[in-house]
């Protein structure tokens, strides 16, 4: 028993060095050399200033921007506090929240059914995407607010629409942050 206990302690120490230190440091080293941008979070700099990550969503609520999905991460899109609502499908809080968001969105689009992703929160609270349907729904509002033609905005949305990966994996999607940044380039906000 005593011998086995000593072996257990020694084994824990030796394997911790190999698997708990050497392994992650080797992977970190390789990653920093081979995939420098991706390993550091695909950060976007504008005029030398960090403005976000290409794969982490941000909150957009102003009418001249495409809106992101509702977020329950911290105060919304808090990338140091990820998480979802965890509300069940029969929870009154969920039903009421969705009804409230639908009412707000329908001010601009009376009577049009709202694509489901625009009124549901993601599991991470950091979802960088909306569906093409969710973008389509907002084109008219953004065009009007920016004094752009709907066609021009539509084209920009199409440019930012990613299809399924390898043609069949996942779902089609639009990256909201990148779309909005390009929108700002095209027609700078006043």
């Amino acid at each position: 028993m005593r011998r086995n206990l000593i072996t257990a302690v020694l084994y824990t120490v030796v394997t911790t060095v190999l698997f708990g230190l050497v392994y992650p440091f080797v992977v970190t080293g390789l990653a920093q050399v081979l995939f420098h941008d991706k390993a550091n979070g695909q950060l976007i700099y504008k005029n030398g200033e960090l403005v976000g990550s290409r794969i982490i969503g941000q909150s957009f609520m102003a009418p001249q921007y495409f809106h992101s999905r509702p977020s329950l991460a911290g105060n919304g899109y808090d990338a140091a506090n990820s998480g979802g609502s965890n509300l069940g499908p029969t929870n009154k809080k969920l039903v009421d929240r969705v009804a409230g968001d639908v009412a707000t969105l329908q001010i601009d689009h009376p009577g049009v059914a709202v694509p489901i992703d625009l009124v549901t929160s993601s599991g991470s609270g950091l979802d960088p995407h909306i569906t093409p349907a969710g973008a389509e729904f907002q084109v008219a509002r953004v065009a009007r607010e920016r004094h752009l033609s709907e066609d021009a905005v539509q084209r920009l949305v199409l440019q930012h629409t990613e299809g399924r990966q390898l043609g069949f994996l996942g779902e089609p999607r639009v990256n909201v942050l990148l779309l909005n940044m390009d929108l700002d380039e095209m027609a700078p906000p006043k």
Partner: protein, 591 residues
């Protein structure tokens, strides 16, 4: 449900099936100490480990010694993890200057990772330093998995050896599992994940200036709500990919971030998502081939595989069907699938995965004892949330955890041949070994400890409004589901959650710790007892009365035993949770 959705599901499963055989045969060679191409690299490291730790490679252990050594190793690593968590503020690699983890939470987490559960009562971004995650949590991801594989191999040896007192050497089996299988797998896999955008760095959290500043209403300390303008986004970083790889390959499931595999830095693309689901299933599926190889009954291995595959397909069908439905309580929203959206129940799901990859992931992660999530199970439709819960309640034998799934399923095999023996009135045999009263008693112990812990703890929690019910995020039948899921997940060593439940309280931290330890160790001991008992037996030549264990009839019987044991035990509780919620939802009732 769409054709593309089904194609994605079948593509995933075909990939698992294709890779199961080569991997399974490779693992059989590793555990039988045959030569492999990887020996050049790993044999010297293996020898060095034995030399430094004084392990005698040729020493063979009886089942009792095997069990004692496994328990000692688990105890030592559990205490080491507890110590690092409590002292992390004094240790390096803590760029966010996170403080010591509270004692009950530290204990819960140490037990959780030691038992391969990876239940998380904490928000990692604000609780665990980079060092704690690398040195202890990811370490457990390797060694709780390697220990699981060692235990499964010990049981296989018990079946295949004759008149033998021993089952192998725990240290050697664990070392070979981690060096030959997990480590090379993780090195390649973590690089693939990084190529998709999983981060791997030691930077402090980045501060980004938001493109559009946001306003948020915050409740201050005095209870008043104030409107705040937020202009920056703090972006959590870390050595994620190295941990993500073993988190999935070792069916651990503990997220580097709170949102787990829903977080874009843990699971950025549909391809990384496919890799993650594949890596949950591939070792457990391969182990069925290892079983066939090491017992010289390859067809038996495939018959077990078939039983697992059948149960998997039923689960994924129900989950996908349920999640693709519209929630009847939401109005003026478009929930139908079309060319421009996947539709269905999108609360708690990511757009890049949609309902099909979320339902598939939830099924896979609970068939196995992984517990990683790429969507919040708590927000699933009632029947969609039923599937993960039932998968765990069936004992996580549908491929199951690495090692744990196989030995769990083999317990059901023992019961199945016993029942077949009763039906024809002959002494049951399993691959030439007589199954006798001692073996069946141990198998029943294994089967009964599980629901006793789940239902017992759930009942106690439900009776205590201040300790049990006050943590609920949802009320009505969904509240019952939240508590039931917690103890099911803990006892089953799964680690996924109906995460609305606030489990970071003294009651839940401690009671879930107990459930996790019971679910791992109290079940391993009877399992090893069976292995020891089988190893001692003589080989009986097959006769006309022998029930063959490689036929479709056997597969059907095995599925039947798994389902009947699970259904009889848990149906009453489930009918008051998810089933009732489903009926109420369609009656238009919210809570």
């Amino acid at each position: 449900m769409t054709a593309n959705g089904w194609f994605q599901i079948f593509f995933f499963f075909a990939l698992v099936m294709v890779c199961a055989k080569p991997l399974g045969l490779y693992m059989a060679r590793v555990f039988e100490h045959e030569r492999t191409r990887a020996d050049v690299i790993f044999r010297p490291i293996e020898r060095l480990i034995y030399r430094l730790t004084g392990i005698e490679e040729t020493h063979e252990m009886a089942w009792t010694e095997y069990a004692v050594v496994m328990l000692l190793f688990s105890l030592v690593t559990l205490l080491a993890t507890y110590a690092v968590e409590r002292l992390q503020q004094l240790l390096p690699l803590n760029p966010q200057h996170l403080g010591a983890v509270a004692p009950d939470l530290a204990l819960n987490t140490a037990a959780s990772f030691t038992t391969n559960t990876n239940w998380q009562s904490y928000v990692p971004e604000t609780t665990m330093s980079y060092l704690t995650q690398m040195l202890t949590l990811a370490y457990h991801n390797f060694f709780s998995a390697a220990a699981g594989m060692a235990l499964a191999v010990a049981l296989i040896r018990g079946i295949s050896r004759r008149e033998s007192k021993t089952l192998g050497n725990f240290w050697v089996d664990t070392t070979r599992a981690s060096l030959w299988v997990l480590l090379p797998g993780c090195l390649i896999y973590s690089m693939l994940l990084i190529s998709q955008g999983v981060v791997q760095n030691l930077r402090p959290y980045d501060q980004a200036k938001l493109v559009q500043s946001q306003t948020a209403t915050v409740t201050g300390a005095d209870g008043k709500t104030v409107t705040q303008t937020i202009t920056t986004q703090s972006i959590a970083q870390g050595p994620v990919a190295s941990q993500e790889a073993i988190k999935m390959l070792g069916t651990n499931g503990g997220g580097f971030f709170n949102a787990n595999s829903a977080h874009p830095f843990e699971n950025p693309t549909p391809l990384s998502n496919l890799m993650q689901m594949f890596s949950i299933f591939v070792i457990p599926a391969g182990l069925t081939v290892t079983l066939g190889r090491m017992t010289r009954a390859p067809k038996h291995g495939w018959a077990v595989f078939a039983a697992m595959a059948a149960l998997f397909l039923v689960g994924v069908f129900v989950a996908y069907y349920a999640e693709a439905q519209s929630n009847p309580l939401l109005h003026s929203v478009d929930q139908r699938a079309s060319l421009t959206q996947a539709g269905g129940n999108m609360e708690g799901k990511e757009v890049r995965f949609g309902v099909v990859n979320s339902a598939l992931f939830a099924t896979v992660t609970t068939d196995a004892s992984c517990g990683a999530v790429n969507s919040t199970h708590d927000s699933f439709m009632p029947l969609g949330g039923l599937v993960p819960m039932v998968n765990i309640m069936l004992g996580e034998v549908i491929f199951g955890g690495v090692g744990a799934g196989l030995y769990g399923m083999l317990i059901f095999v023992v019961l199945a041949v016993f029942i077949a023996g009763l039906m024809v009135g002959r002494t049951p045999e399993y691959l030439g070994k007589k199954i006798e009263s001692y073996d069946v008693k141990m198998a029943m112990l294994y089967v009964l400890i599980f629901p006793l812990s789940i239902l017992g703890f759930s009942a106690v929690a439900l009776m205590m409004p201040n300790l049990g019910l006050s943590s609920l995020a949802n009320t009505g039948p969904h509240g019952l589901s939240e508590i039931l899921y917690a103890y099911t997940s803990a006892t089953g060593n799964n680690g996924s959650a109906f995460a609305g439940l606030n489990a970071n309280t003294h009651w839940y931290n401690l009671s879930l710790t107990a459930a996790m330890l019971i679910g791992r160790f109290l079940m391993i001991v009877p399992m090893l007892a069976i292995a020891g008992s089988l190893a001692k037996k003589k080989l009986v030549p097959p006769s006309l009365g022998t029930f063959p264990v490689h036929t479709p009839l056997f597969t059907v019987l095995l599925v039947g035993v798994v389902v009947i044991v699970g259904a009889l035990t848990f149906f009453p509780a489930l009918s008051l949770g998810p089933v009732l919620e489903h009926l109420m939802m369609h009656a238009g009732k919210s809570f």
